[in-house]
Amino acid sequence: MTLLKEFFLPRFVQWLVVIFIGVTVTFLIPRLSPVNPIDQAMTRLTSFQNRDPQATVALRESLQDLYGLNGNIFEQYINFWKRVLRGDLGPSFSSFPAKVSDLIGNSIAWTVGLLATSTILAWVLGIIFGSLAGYFPNRWWARLMESSVITVYPVPYYILSFVLLMAFTYYLPIFPLVGGGQGLPRLTLDYIGSVLFHSFLPAVSIIIGGVAFRFIVSKALTTSERSSDYVQYAEMAAIPKRKILISYIIRNTMLPQVTDLGLSLGTIFEGALITEVVFGYPGLGNTLYNAVNSSDYNLIMGITLLSIVGIATASLLVDLSYPLFDPRVRYR
């Protein structure tokens, strides 16, 4: 019972606070913009027709209502909350009358599929390589891995993906330049194959960066675990190194590692913007990019909101899962 009070409740409250702040921030920022979306939309909608003044006014009013710009800022804020809680993120400005939630729904599967697999794969590979290099730091392969990671890790992600793009779609034209899959979405082997083919390069770019970071973290954790008393005692008893690495070292580093994994998965909803723009991948990030270019604030806000909620929730779930991993938390 105390566990609940001491541990779960504060975390839950924090989750609510974060979401509250997030919603408020996404509400405020576009309203600070000098551009008036109503004017923009009106221009677009009435440019080819002449309407009588009354109809124009009526249009303006309904647009204002639709975009949640009715009333003063406090009324707008309350309305905003009401809509968000209903799941209504409003219509998209640039693709009117398409709903923001629809546009997000269309692209989210691509992003989640790509990012979930790449993130998890990068995490697993990074732990394996990093821990091995940490436990056997003087082997040639460990040193080689470390040097490669040092050159890859600091490179900005954009540069990394762009170089990959240049190398493997242009100079060695192996992979396609853009797209998510070939043909219409169907559950055929052909289509699935083409999806894998198209997502290979973006996945590799994410995995390289992810593995580099996880390598560095795992190596550092392993190095410090190596000097802990239980590892040294196990080595004294000549327990096989493989068992020590897995059950004594890695197992004890799981807490921070899983935390990181949870948070990384939470950032999926940010949409891998750069990845998708560079590789022309039809996911959430691309949608966001197009929204930015066409000043579609509703869509931008919707996606930003989604990512804030995603990260906050992932972080909450990760924290709540601590008792599962660390018996010291479980049995106080």
Partner: protein, 335 residues
């Protein structure tokens, strides 16, 4: 009764070099010991005297920057052929560790894997040296704990759920479950309260009785030595300064350091003020010339400052390394 452990002229130094700075710490400097089969041999000394280093070398568990510069260590079990622990490879180590030679650390620290239950740790250690299934090793553990008078429930717990004393006793059980002939114990009672200390000492006595194993006990606590050790060696700044029967050394210490050590112990009958030795043990990267104790020695002679004293034998089994004692002996009338 043969010697189960023999160390001869052992020299082990820590040699480091980082960022252009070279440093050599002479932690074990010319130590020779013999431990007889079945006895309890104590090694006593303050912190920083090189006990832990000596232990690591005797076990063959030393790693760079600790290097054995000179000398030998030999095991002899049941008059079989000698084993050189310093020359074993990983397979060789796995052969003898836990089955023939074992190590009890200061268990109230964290020598048990915090994310594994006790019985799983038992299985890890047993399985490495004996082909058993999980069920079999848990049976072994249960029976052994029962034999030693420890509760079986600990097997299902995690280390942090046990008290310090319990953890120490579990560690002792873990170290001795395969009935090793030679057991090294490193400060097994330190950081425990007196009541628990008694329990640990009793446990060690029981194990020795049941299995007839040899115990090499390393601690700064003379009281524990008095309780457990048959023979004792006093270590100072990487050298053995006195060695002999525990009772004899405690009653009749000859080396000035030993004398002060014994004198500083509280006594039931006396109520006078306890006096400790002025000064501190020397840093081992730059030890004093000659006898290492001379800066703090109240009876130091001139030659103590420059010449390292040889080890001489007073009575059979009682050895001292001190110029002052040597002078006494050579000037004493022949009995």
């Amino acid at each position: 009764m043969s010697n189960i452990l023999e160390a001869k002229d052992l020299k082990a130094y820590y040699m480091t070099q980082a960022f252009g700075v070279r440093r050599t710490v002479k932690a074990v400097d010319n130590i020779s010991l013999q431990v007889r089969q079945g006895e309890a041999f104590g090694i006593a000394g303050e912190s920083g005297c090189g006990k832990s280093t000596l232990l690591k070398v005797l076990l063959g568990a030393h790693e760079p920057p600790l290097t054995v510069v000179d000398g030998t260590v030999k095991y002899r079990f049941d008059d079989m052929e000698e084993i050189d622990p310093l020359a074993l490879d990983e397979r060789g180590r796995r052969e003898i560790r836990w089955k023939k030679v074992s190590y009890i650390p200061q268990g109230s620290m964290h020598v048990l894997n915090p994310v594994r239950r006790i019985r799983e740790s038992f299985h890890d250690f047993v399985r490495t040296h004996k082909k058993v299934s999980q069920a079999e090793s848990w049976d072994m553990a249960r029976n052994y704990l029962r034999d030693l008078g420890l509760s079986e429930e600990v097997l299902n717990s995690y280390p942090h759920q046990l008290s310090g004393g319990m953890r120490q006793r579990v560690t002792i059980a873990l170290a001795t479950i395969l009935w090793p002939k030679l057991i090294f114990a490193d400060e097994p009672t330190t950081a425990l309260d007196v009541v628990v200390q008694r329990g640990v000492i009793q446990l060690l006595k029981d194990i020795r009785q049941k299995e007839g194993s040899t115990l090499v006990l390393i601690t700064h606590d003379i009281g524990v030595h008095a309780n457990l050790a048959d023979r004792i060696a006093i270590l100072y700044a990487g050298k053995v300064v006195e060695e002999g029967d525990t009772k004899e050394v405690l009653k009749n210490p000859r080396h000035p350091y030993t004398q002060h050590l014994i004198n500083s112990l509280p006594r039931l009958d006396e109520r006078s003020e306890r006096v400790s030795i002025p000064g501190r043990p020397p840093a081992l990267d730059n030890p004093p010339n000659g006898c290492r104790f001379h800066p703090r020695c109240p009876v130091a002679l001139d030659k103590c400052r420059t010449i390292d004293p040889e080890t001489i034998t007073l009575e059979p089994g009682h050895r001292v390394a001190c110029h002052v004692v040597a002078e006494e002996v050579s000037h004493a009338p022949v009995a």
